[in-house]
Every structure is written in structure tokens, then in C-alpha cells.
């Protein structure tokens, strides 16, 4: 039986206590993986719906009329880089290197804010072009899918910003790097979902 010493300190800074876990993975890390598995089905349903309703809208505007691929490409790049930045931040946290942690984590949070801002700009631009939420099936399935992704980015940014606040206060030592690791896992997942959304929603729609 593999036993591992897990630090279940949690956010509250309780003294580290050795807990026996049956699998060589901490409870909170296992839980975030399980949650991500569940989220896969959530986004799979949203993406499937978008694909099922492709070309089914009764009136415009349609994707090809309205998508701003260069802007979204920039947002995609920023989000992809943020996944790299959070890995560097986690590395800093695990080494107990506060400066490294704060630098890279700040960059990650900045990327999250940039991406969310890009989406706010994109949505308001579309709205002014006449694409309301209930305009057609494309708009409804597009806004629901990317809106929920955006909400996940916002929540992830908020989560990482909270950890940044902890790091600045010196409350994120190497012993509590797990706090950042699980947030980073979530952040990578949100990123991976976008890696699917970008080609499936934006690039594939340009030809139709």
C-alpha cells in the first residue's frame, strides 16, 4: 500500500499535518482532477451544441460575417503563454523563491485579465454589429459556449489573484505550493478548452 505524506494545510494556514492517503496524490489535487473530468462533459456538451447548430441559423449575422480572427488569435496566444507563466510561478513557489513566484504569477493574472478583456471587447463589438444573444442559433450557442469559458477564465483569474495576494503577503511558502498547483491545474484545463474552441468555433466557421 502506497502511503504518502500529504500536506493538507489548506488556505487557512493550519500547521502541516501528515495524513495517510490511499493513493499517492493529495485529496485536493485528486478532487480537482475529478472536477476537471466533470467539466470535460460540461464543455463537450456546449461544443457539441455549437457544432450541431452550425449552418442552422435562420438569419444573420453569421460567423463569417463577424469573426475578428486576428484579435482572437492574440487572445489565444496570451492564454497559451499564461499556461507557461503559471508553470514558472509554481516552480518558484515550490522552490520557495518568492520573487520568481510573484513575478510569474503576476504575469499569469495579467494574461487572464487581458483575455477576459478581449472577450468583453469582442462581445460588445458583436453586439453593436447586431449579434444579440437571441439573434439566431449561432449567436445563442456561441455566446453560451464562449461566455461560460470566459466565466471560467474570470473565476480562474480571481483564484490566481487571491493566491498572488497570499504570495505578496508571504503566505504562500514552499509547503503550501499545492494551493497554487491545484489552481494551476484548473488554469491549464481552461486553457485546453480554449485550444479546442479556437479552431472548432473560429477557424472552422470561416469557411462555411
Amino acid at each position: 500500500m502506497t502511503s504518502t505524506t500529504a500536506t493538507l494545510a489548506g488556505h487557512d494556514g493550519h500547521a502541516a499535518e501528515a495524513h495517510h492517503t490511499s493513493l499517492p496524490i493529495e485529496n485536493r489535487k485528486l478532487a480537482i482532477w475529478v472536477f476537471i473530468a466533470s467539466e470535460c462533459m460540461f464543455f463537450a456538451t456546449l461544443i457539441s451544441t455549437f457544432l450541431i447548430y452550425r449552418g442552422q441559423s435562420l438569419k444573420g449575422p453569421l460567423p463569417a460575417d463577424i469573426f475578428e480572427v486576428p484579435l482572437v488569435t492574440a487572445g489565444t496566444a496570451v492564454l497559451l503563454f499564461s499556461s507557461f507563466f503559471v508553470v514558472m510561478a509554481l516552480n518558484g513557489a515550490q522552490e520557495g523563491n518568492r520573487r520568481k513566484l510573484i513575478t510569474w504569477l503576476s504575469l499569469t493574472v495579467f494574461c487572464g485579465v487581458f483575455f477576459a478583456g478581449m472577450q468583453v471587447y469582442e462581445f460588445s463589438h458583436f453586439y453593436h454589429e447586431g449579434l444579440g444573444y437571441s439573434t439566431n442559433l449561432f449567436s445563442a450557442s456561441f455566446y453560451t459556449l464562449t461566455g461560460f469559458h470566459g466565466a471560467h477564465v474570470t473565476m480562474g483569474t480571481l483564484w490566481l489573484a487571491t493566491l498572488l495576494k497570499d504570495a505578496i503577503k508571504g503566505d504562500l511558502p514552499a509547503g503550501k505550493a499545492l494551493n497554487l498547483e491545484i489552481a494551476a491545474l484548473y488554469w491549464h484545463f481552461v486553457d485546453v478548452v480554449w485550444i479546442i474552441i479556437f479552431p472548432v468555433v473560429y477557424l472552422m466557421s470561416l469557411r462555411s
Partner: protein
């Protein structure tokens, strides 16, 4: 995680009222009892709805109930029994017994566990409060476009759409929690293939919850935005496809029926070996057949949709996949019979219900296989034959098993044995009432009586069947009263149940009844399946000596917390915001916004809760 060090020296320094204790508890046993108590109340409400339905259908052309109210009754009966009775009654057993069976002191995330309870309870109250304004009336499956704004203009279906989303949050949180708990909190030595079968069934059920609930969540979001913001996901006039609703609903809905029945399989697999004095026959086959049922459960959803005209290819695929499920289910039934075979059978009340389960579930399973044949299903679908079928699996299956579990585990939960004589009277009344209610429905259905009709003309050949069903329903109601009488009677007696009244095989029987707050004074180490039987055999005794109660000195337990309840209230307000009229609605109005802020603040406070904020010395 906030923790409390139990220190009897400080006993009574701060006494908290009983109410505050239960509102802030993170103890899985108290949470389990609250799940059970609230689910039982919802079960009674759902039963009352059923009685009203049966009274209306007792004879032809009755006008006891208006057609509008009848629609609300059958919708709320189905929704209540599935989401507010059977699921949380199973959750009662998950909560109380999973940590005990795997030798843990609590679940992986005790506060998240409390939040699941409160979200469920508030969601259930919210759904039932709808009767004041007009309860959901579009069926428990909420078929679009009937459930859309055009055909359901009132608040009725808003309650349903939002209520189910709230309940989904509770189920998903519990799914993450119990999956993590079972995989990671097992006692030393308890490998996966040494876990009790109820623990296995819980694990597999959580996988189903985790992978199927997100799908219904998205479907409900679409239906909600169709209703609130005027999108056209399921509106044919806007190009939307109502078939998408059916597919998404049943991608969830079929795994959901296994979510309702797998815990029952687990309970039965615990009871049969104990009362046959024989280990479960074919343990590994039982585990793998359950996993196979869960896997296939995701590939059969369209057998609920044969009548929609999907074409021969899809019909054939879903027919065959459905028939395939009969194989692992058959494996389980034969293994249960193999367990009893040659055993030294003790006919106690839990065993009565367990044997009743096998017989009733086989009948429900057989009519289920009949539905898998698409051409035959076209004749049966939407008739009372289907009503008979799923009541045989959900009542004859789930409810019989949950009742068996209640009699079996009652002494462990409350330290009191339920009365055997009354228990057996309960069983015979329930078995009689159940078959009297649902067996005639097969015939009524085959004679052409459709589901969901508030009355029927006489002389079509099913008057007598309906009268029998109504009589049976009231016999069933009496059997539930007998159970309640048993509980009340038992309550007046001293709590003197031994730790191991049945000669159990699993760890929950190694500790006092009821268990102390920390469950195990010493964390157990497990050396094989049926650990307790191994210990007894090694000691050469029938029952182990009564375990001593300890003072729990030095044991760390998570401290109580208000935040789970507060977050649950926030989630409720946030969701309710979507159905309020414009000036109040989210994002245009305050209620949803307040809920959102409460939720967010609650989560932050929860995450940063200092270790001893609410430490209660014992």
C-alpha cells in the same frame, strides 16, 4: 482545514445550542441523518401526490382533481421521487456509511459535504414551494418545446428548470467529495478489491453523477435562457431542434436511472451475505459487472426515444446496447442467488426486504428488456406498461433496497433496533400494496391506457385495473405508516443496540452503535475482504467483544462552520434571480446579484477560515 482537538478537560466551557450544532456541523454522520430525514419528508410529499393521482384515476371520468393540477402532481411526483427522495436517501447511506466502511474519520472534504446537504435541502424546499404559485407541470423530463415559454408561459417550469440546476450543484459537489473519499481515505490495507460492495457501488455511482450531471446542467441552461432571454435552442420557429433537448436529457437521464439503482445493488450485496452467513458469491464479477453497467449506461439513452423516428440504424444500435445491459445485470442477480444458495439463511427484516428486492427487480428488469426491442417499444411507450416497468425497478428495486438498508443500518445509526414483528408486517403490506398497485398497470398499458392523462372514459377494459391500483396505493401508504410507527415505538426504547447485532462483515460493525464522533479511536488496518469475519474466525467467536467507548483525547476533527450553509443560501438566491420578473432579475436586479456576492464572499471566507474559529471543546 479547521480542526478541533478534542479535549474533555474543557467540556462545557462553551455550550452551543443544538440547532447551531446541526446547522454548522461537518460530521458526515449528522449530515447523513439530515439527508435521510429531509429526504423522507420529501418522500412522504411525493407519496401524497401519488395518492391524489390514484384517487383521481380510481374510476373513469372522475373530477376530483383539475387537469391542470393533475399535470403538476405527476410532474412533481416524478421529480420529487427521483431527485428529492431516492437520490438523497442513497446519499444518507453514502454519508453515514462510506467513511465507516473504509475506516475513515470523515469524508475528504467535510465542509463541502455540508454544503451539498444545504444546497440539496434548499433546492428541495424551493421546488416544493412552487405549489404556492403553480408547480412544474411539464413532466419530470421537461420535453421541449412543451417546457418552453410559448407552451409553458407561467412560472411553473421556471421552478423546475432552476430547481434542478440547484440540485445538480449539490450532486456534483457530493460526487467530487465521495469519489475522492473512497479513492483516497481508505484504511491501510484496504485495496480497491477489498472494499465492501456498497462502497464499490457508491464509487461507480459518483462516476455516473460526475459525467452525466454536467450534460443536464447545460441542457437546463439552454432551456432557462430560452425561457428568460428568448434564445431559440429548442424553439422550432427559430431553427432550434427539440430533439436536442431529448438527446441531452436522456444522455443524463439514462445514467440517472443507474444512479438510482446502483446504490440499491450495493445495499443488497451487503445484506445477503450477512444474513446467509456466506461471503458474497463472485466478488470480482460483481465489481466488474457494475462497472460494465455504468459504462453501457452512457450508450443506451436513445432507447427512451424510439418513437421519435431516429431511423433503423440508430434504433438497432440502441436496441442492441440495451439488450447488452441485461448481461451484467443478470450476472448480478445470479450472483445474489448464488450467495444465498446453501447459506445459513437468517430471515430477519432486512433479509425480507432484500429478497423482495430480488424478486421485484427481476420483474422490472424483464419488462425493461421488452422495451429494448424497438418495434415492441413503439407499442408500449407512453402507456401504463412503462409506468409499471419503471415502478418495478425504482420502487420494487430502489425503495425496497433502501428500506432493507434502513432496517439493516438503523441500529448503527441510532443505537436502537427496529422492531422485527412490525418490520415484517411492514414488509408484507408493502409487498402486497406494491404489486397490487403496479402489476395491473402492465395490463392497463397493454390495453392502451396512455400515461399522463387525468381521466379516461369507462368501458375500455381498464376500469378494474385502475381501481386495483388505487387500492394498492393506499395499502402502500399504510405500510409506510407502519414503518413510521415502528420508528416512533423504537424511539421510546433505550438505545441499547450492540455494536454488531447482525454478525456483520464490514468495518462499521466494529465500532459502538451509534458511532462516536471520531468513528474509529484507532485507525483500522485491513488484511482482506470481509475483515470482521476474518477477525472473528481468527478469534474463534461469533461476535467480537463489545468495543469500548473512548474519550477521543488527542483526535483531530474538522471544526464546525457556518460557511457551507451561507454559500448554499447564496447559490439559491443567485439561481432564483433568473426567474424573477425584470426589475428583480439577474443581471438586471438585486436578488441574483446579492446571491452572487454572498456565494463569492462565502467561498473566500470558507477558504481562509482560521483553524480554530469555531473550535468546540468537548
Amino acid at each position: 482545514m479547521a480542526t478541533t482537538v478534542l479535549d474533555p478537560a474543557h467540556a462545557g466551557t462553551r455550550s452551543r445550542s443544538v440547532l447551531v450544532e446541526w446547522l454548522t456541523t461537518v460530521d458526515h454522520k449528522k449530515i447523513g441523518i439530515m439527508y435521510g430525514a429531509s429526504a423522507f419528508v420529501f418522500f412522504l410529499i411525493g407519496g401524497l401526490e401519488a395518492l391524489l393521482i390514484r384517487a383521481q384515476l380510481a374510476g373513469p371520468n372522475k373530477d376530483l382533481i383539475s387537469p391542470e393540477f393533475y399535470n403538476q402532481l405527476f410532474t412533481m411526483h416524478g421529480t420529487t421521487m427521483i431527485f428529492l427522495a431516492v437520490m438523497p436517501l442513497s446519499a444518507m447511506f453514502f454519508n453515514f456509511f462510506i467513511p465507516l466502511q473504509i475506516g475513515a474519520r470523515d469524508v475528504a472534504f467535510p465542509r463541502l459535504n455540508a454544503m451539498s446537504l444545504w444546497v440539496f435541502l434548499l433546492g428541495g424546499i424551493f421546488l416544493n414551494a412552487s405549489f404556492i404559485w403553480g408547480a412544474p407541470n411539464g413532466g419530470w423530463f421537461g420535453y421541449a418545446p412543451l417546457s418552453g415559454r410559448q407552451y409553458s408561459p407561467g412560472v411553473n417550469m421556471d421552478f423546475w428548470v432552476i430547481g434542478l440546476q440547484i440540485l445538480g450543484i449539490a450532486s456534483l459537489a457530493a460526487g467530487v467529495n465521495f469519489f475522492t473519499t473512497i479513492l483516497n481515505m481508505r484504511a491501510r490495507g484496504m485495496t480497491l478489491m477489498r472494499m465492501p460492495m456498497f462502497t464499490w457501488s457508491t464509487l461507480v455511482t459518483q462516476v455516473l453523477v460526475l459525467l452525466s450531471f454536467p450534460v443536464i446542467t447545460v441542457a437546463l441552461i439552454y432551456l432557462m435562457v430560452d425561457r428568460v432571454f428568448g434564445t431559440g435552442f429548442f424553439v422550432p420557429a427559430a431553427g432550434g431542434d427539440p430533439m436536442l433537448w431529448q438527446h441531452l436529457f436522456w444522455v443524463f437521464g439514462h445514467p440517472e436511472v443507474y444512479i438510482l439503482i446502483l446504490p440499491a445493488f450495493g445495499i443488497i450485496s451487503e445484506i445477503l451475505p450477512v444474513f446467509s452467513r456466506k461471503p458474497l458469491f463472485g466478488y470480482s464479477a460483481m465489481v466488474f459487472s457494475m462497472a460494465f453497467i455504468a459504462f453501457l449506461g452512457f450508450g443506451v439513452w436513445s432507447h427512451h426515444m424510439f418513437s421519435t423516428g431516429m431511423g433503423p440504424l440508430a434504433d438497432s444500435f440502441f436496441s442492441l446496447a440495451t439488450m447488452l445491459i441485461a448481461i451484467p445485470t443478470g450476472v448480478k442477480i445470479f450472483n445474489w442467488i448464488g450467495t444465498i444458495w446453501g447459506g445459513s439463511i437468517q430471515l430477519r427484516t432486512p433479509m425480507y426486504f432484500a429478497l423482495g428486492f430480488i424478486a421485484m427487480f427481476i420483474m422490472g428488469g424483464l419488462s425493461g428488456v421488452m422495451h429494448s426491442v424497438a418495434p415492441a417499444d413503439l407499442q408500449q411507450t407512453d402507456s401504463y406498461f412503462v409506468v409499471a416497468h419503471f415502478h418495478y425497478v425504482l420502487f420494487g428495486g430502489s425503495i425496497f433496497a433502501i428500506t432493507a438498508g434502513a432496517y439493516y443500518w438503523w441500529p448503527k445509526m441510532f443505537g436502537r433496533m427496529l422492531d422485527e414483528g412490525i418490520g415484517k408486517a411492514h414488509f408484507w403490506l408493502m409487498l402486497t400494496g406494491f404489486n397490487l398497485t403496479f402489476f395491473p398497470m402492465h395490463f392497463a398499458g397493454l390495453l392502451g391506457m396512455p400515461r399522463r392523462i387525468y381521466t379516461y372514459p369507462g368501458g375500455l377494459g381498464f376500469d378494474t385495473y385502475n381501481l386495483l391500483a388505487t387500492v394498492g396505493a393506499f395499502v402502500l401508504a399504510v405500510s409506510i405508516l407502519v414503518f413510521m410507527w415502528n420508528v416512533v415505538r423504537t424511539w421510546r426504547r433505550p438505545a441499547d443496540a450492540p455494536a454488531d447485532p447482525w454478525g456483520g462483515a464490514t468495518l462499521e460493525w466494529a465500532i459502538p452503535s451509534p458511532p462516536q464522533e471520531w468513528n474509529f479511536t484507532e485507525e483500522p488496518v485491513v488484511s482482506g475482504k470481509d475483515e470482521l469475519w476474518t477477525l472473528k474466525r481468527a478469534a474463534g467467536v461469533r461476535t467480537l467483544p463489545e468495543p469500548a467507548r473512548s474519550d477521543g483525547r488527542g483526535i483531530h476533527l474538522p471544526g464546525p462552520s457556518w460557511w457551507p450553509l451561507i454559500v448554499a443560501i447564496g447559490i439559491l438566491l443567485f439561481m432564483v434571480g433568473f426567474m424573477l420578473p425584470r426589475p428583480w432579475a439577474f443581471p438586471f436586479g438585486p436578488v441574483g446579484l446579492v446571491g452572487f456576492v454572498i456565494t463569492l464572499v462565502g467561498i473566500f471566507k470558507w477558504a481562509y477560515e482560521p483553524p480554530d474559529a469555531h473550535a468546540t471543546p468537548h
